[in-house]
Each structure stands twice: as C-alpha cells, then as structure tokens.
Amino acid sequence: MSYVIGVDVGSTYTKAVILSPEKEVVGHAMTATGFKLDKASEKVFDKILKDSGLAKDEIGYAISTGYGRHMVPYRDITVTDLTATARGSHYFFPDTRTVLDIGGQTMKASRLDEKVKVKSFRLNDKCAAGTGAFLEKTARYMGYETEEIGPLVQTSKDDVPISGVCAVFAESEVINQLSLGSAPSDIMHGAMSSLVKRAIQLLKRVKMESQITLTGGIMRFKTMVDVLTENVEEKINVPKGEMVQFTTALGAATLALQRLEKIKAEA
C-alpha cells in the first residue's frame, strides 16, 4: 500500500504514472480515451500494473485529473490539471515558475511561486484554434495523421500565415493556401506559429517568469518547441521524451504521495 498512482484522463489520451515511496517513477502507461472515460481509466490502470509488476493492493492512493477526472472509479480524490501540471513540472524542473500546457481541448498558462502554488493562470477561450485539436484538424484536412505532424513540419522551408482567430476560419485559410499551391509542411508550420502566438498572449497575461516548462502532447513536436523558444526570452524546459505527455499524471501522483504520507503520519 505504499505506491501511488496519478491518472490524467485527457480528451484524447488517458495517462497514468505510478510513483514509489521514494518518489521514483516505477511505471507509466497510456491509452486512447475514446468515449467511455471510466473504461479508459480502468484499462490504463490494468496496463500500468502489468507493466510495473505491481498488484492492485500495493497502490495506497489514487488521484485523478484531466477533463475526465470525475469518471475514474478507483480515485481517492480529484485535482484539476492546472494543479497537477504545476506539480509535475516542478518534479522535473524545480526552478519552474511558469507552465504552458497545451492539451487536446485546452491551452493553459500558469505562473507559480517557489512553493509550487499557482499564483496566476489563464485558459484559452472556447475556440479550438487555441488547442492541440487545431493542429490535428489542420493535419487531417491535408491528409496527414497526428503522428506525421512532427516529421512533416520539419521539412518546412517557409511559414505560411494562418490567422488562427477561429478554427473554422483557419480551416478555410488552409483550403485557400492549398489551392494557391503552398506546401503542406509550410501550412503546418503556419498553423504552429498561429498556435504559438496564442500561447504567448496567455503567457503574457500571467506575467511569465523564467523558467518556463512546456507540457502536453504537442510539445513532442520539436518545431513547436523551437518556435516557442524563438519567441520568448525566458529559459525553456521540456520534459524528456514521452514524459512531456505524462507531466500532469505525474504531478497528480506526487500529490497522491503527499496525501498518503500525511494519512500514514496521522494514523
């Protein structure tokens, strides 16, 4: 009962991380969320237990987060992604003062104090042009899968401007650019630049401070990080490899560990 789990039920993927009592990541797993959020959370739980070789009763505390956090049957408590991502960012980069998290449905910027407390935060408005879904839609329209976005955009030679004020308008701009003969890689680059402009507006609203940690599936794409880095003066951190997608689940797990320790101390 001394291990803990953090589960992040996102709009596209459900991610889970198990931490040992020594705060080490002993397992992580991911599955597509689909439409049955409770089932996805069960599936990722089974998967992570199998991968880490742990039994269910070895998990002493579970915290769920993400937009489907209320649908996780085995949770002890829920926290919002903002709190969880702050904790996860601090785990990897203790000097984090600003976090930018771009998920499938939302873009969030937050500024933290030295105790990892969120001092200020801003979420994108409801338009999908500010989220990961915008890039996915752009890719899909041009006949590319999500996983192809990274390689595609790295071949870009030019930046085709996409307004990005509204996802629907942006889509018609993509159509227009294709008809003018623009390369899909350049259009994709333009879409990323548009997303970055929105991200920077949010970062400015929270009065960003160094260091900035970037999280969310989109940050797997090197170009996205490069464009962001070019546009801000502060030091930028990105969790290594696929952990960039697990930062929020990890943050939930660190909070779970704190809770478990508190419960044990009070017992």
Binding site: T80, D81, T106, F121, L123
Partner: protein, 399 residues
Amino acid sequence: MAQLKSQIALKKLLKDYFIGMKSPIAWCTSAGPAEILRALGFEVYFPENHGALLGASRTAEKYIPRAHQEGYDGEICSYLTADIGAWLMKETPLTKIYGLESIPTPDLIVFNTNQCREVAEWFNFFGREYDCPVVGIFPPRYLEEITQAEIDNVVSQFKGLIEVGEKIIGKPLDPEKLSETVRLSFEGSQLWKEVLETASHSPSPLTFFDGCILMAPIVVLRGTQICLDFYKEALVELKELVAQNEGAIPKEKVRIYWEGMPVWGRLRSLSEFFAENQTSVVASTYCNSWVFDHFDPDNPMESMAYAYTQIFINRGENTKLEMMKDIMEKFEVDGVVFHDSKTCFNNANSRFGLPKRVEESTGIDTVSFDGDLVDLRFFSEGQTRTKLETFIEQLKYDK
C-alpha cells in the same frame, strides 16, 4: 439544497400578476420608469422578464433562428432574438405555466436605453407589429459623475412620456399617486437590498442563483404593495436562517462575486456545481442593479431620473470598479467570476480590462468564462466547469 419557502410563495404571486393583467397595459424595460406608468393607471409588463423565462425554460433555441430569418443577427441580444422569435411563432412559455394564450397586448411601449441600445430595436419591432405608440427614454450613457444637467435631461424626457401616457389613459397624472408609487418602489427596493445583504453572513442563507428567482417582484411589481409584502416575508425567512447559521449550501468554503448576466438556462446546474465545490456565490452586480437608494417620494421626477441613470450598466469604468469594490467588501468575497455573455455586449464587463483593475486594486482573483444569458449555443458546459473548478481550487489553496 433546500428550496426557500419564499420561492414557493413567489410562484403564486407571479401567477396572480400574469393572470390578473388587464388593459391598459404598458410594456417597459426592467430599469425603465415603471412608477410613471403605474401612477398613470397602466399595468406593466416587462419583456426582459419574458426573455429570461425563454432562457430558463430552455425554449429559446427554438425561437432564436426564427428571429434570424427576419434579419436579427445571432450575436445581438438573445433576449431580443428569443422574444421576437417566440412572438413570430405565436408561442410563449406563459401558456404552459399560467395558461395564457399569448403575452399581454400593449397600449403603450416604453424603453430606457440606460442599459443598452438593443432595447430600442426590440421594443420598436413590437411597436410596428402592434401599431402601438413607443416612447424611448435616451439618458446620457456611461457616466462617471452625474450632473444636474443630465438629470434635467432625463426629467424632460419623462415629461414627454407623461404627455403620451395621459392621452392614452384619458386623464392627467395624479402627482399624489406618483409620489406614493415612488415611495412603494423605494421601500420595496430597500427591502430587496436587505434580502441580498443577508448573504453577507457566512454561511450565506441565499446564493446568487436564489437571488435570480427572488428578484422577480422588484422587477415586475416594483411600485406595488405586493412587492413590499413579499420581501418582508422573505426577509423573515432569511433572517431565521442567519440566526440558525444555516447556509444555502451544505459547506461554504469559498465566497464568490458573480459579475454579469445569469446563464438563465443553466441556473440549476451552475447552482449545483458551485455547491458541490463548497462555494457560495454570495454577491452579484446583477441582483444589486435593482437596489435603488435614491427614490424620493417628495421629489419623484428628479429622484427617478437619478435612480435610473446611476445604475451600474450606465456608468463609466472607474465608477463600475468602485461599485464592485463596495459590494466585494461588504460580502467578503474570495474571488470574482466574470460572465462574458456573448450577446450582451453592454453587460459583459470583462472586455475593457475591468478584471485586471479589480485584481490590482483589491488583490482578489478573478476569472472570466464565455457564455450567454439565453443562447446556450455560446455556452460550453465542460469548458466552463473546468475553468471554474480550477479557479475555485486555487482559491481554496489560498485560504
């Protein structure tokens, strides 16, 4: 959450109001000079109340597209589009609730643009349709200080309204009756203020969502004894709850100020959402907009002109900030939620930097969410819940 007894009493009161309505009838905006109309002998009907009813009954989405067909844009006031659409389709929720065949037919239509220009377009539509006289009061807008010249301007427009009203009624306005109606409005408004102020107690015995229901008499029956009697009773109930330390929600950990319009079609779900998150929405600009401290029976015309010109929605940004700060302090709020109502430009106060100025001058956090007063196509339940839950979570950490 237990329903207040007063809310049950309110149902009968509103039924009597709607069923008993007889000609001559004047239509009036919610912060229009209803006292003049009542003193002249009109019964008064408020289309905004009907708009809110269309929103709360979640029937508006059926009617709004009908108004679009007439050229009324989807991004203008959804009270207007829902109300015009419903009228064109010859339907009203008053049929289901009170058995009325239609909304009351007007003998006179009166609007006051102290709240927005949309009311002019809305009421003029009905003026054309019913071939009914329309009188507009156009006060100076977005004022910081209010000068005597501005009061004189509004008083002279009221005089013009009285001339038109007297012709329709066929007799002159009785100054005693006007004075008495203004007295009733003043006392009703002061009782309403006391009702709202019971929420300054923690735990609060009522929330903004209860207020949105309980406010009906101060809007539609302002200037009548019925309005006074209702709030006297409500106050007894609320004071009892305060004495018993009984809150409107099971556990009040966070106290919120709501700025902007209600989301009429989501009153219940939002009320439940805040309760689940141990958060009481204890104060609002909206409910406070019908607190009129300046009605004076000894000086009815000037005091009405002042009262209806000094309302929050008609003020400059500096005055709005000061008005908010007063309420925030009185109700000891932990955070402010701004509802950026898509089709209510005039009462969406997060667009000119007010949230930032509130934060800077009070140190209290704010959050804005997108929504609408009536048109739920502009409201995303999931996005809003995530945003508000995140906000509340941070406020809890601060405590």
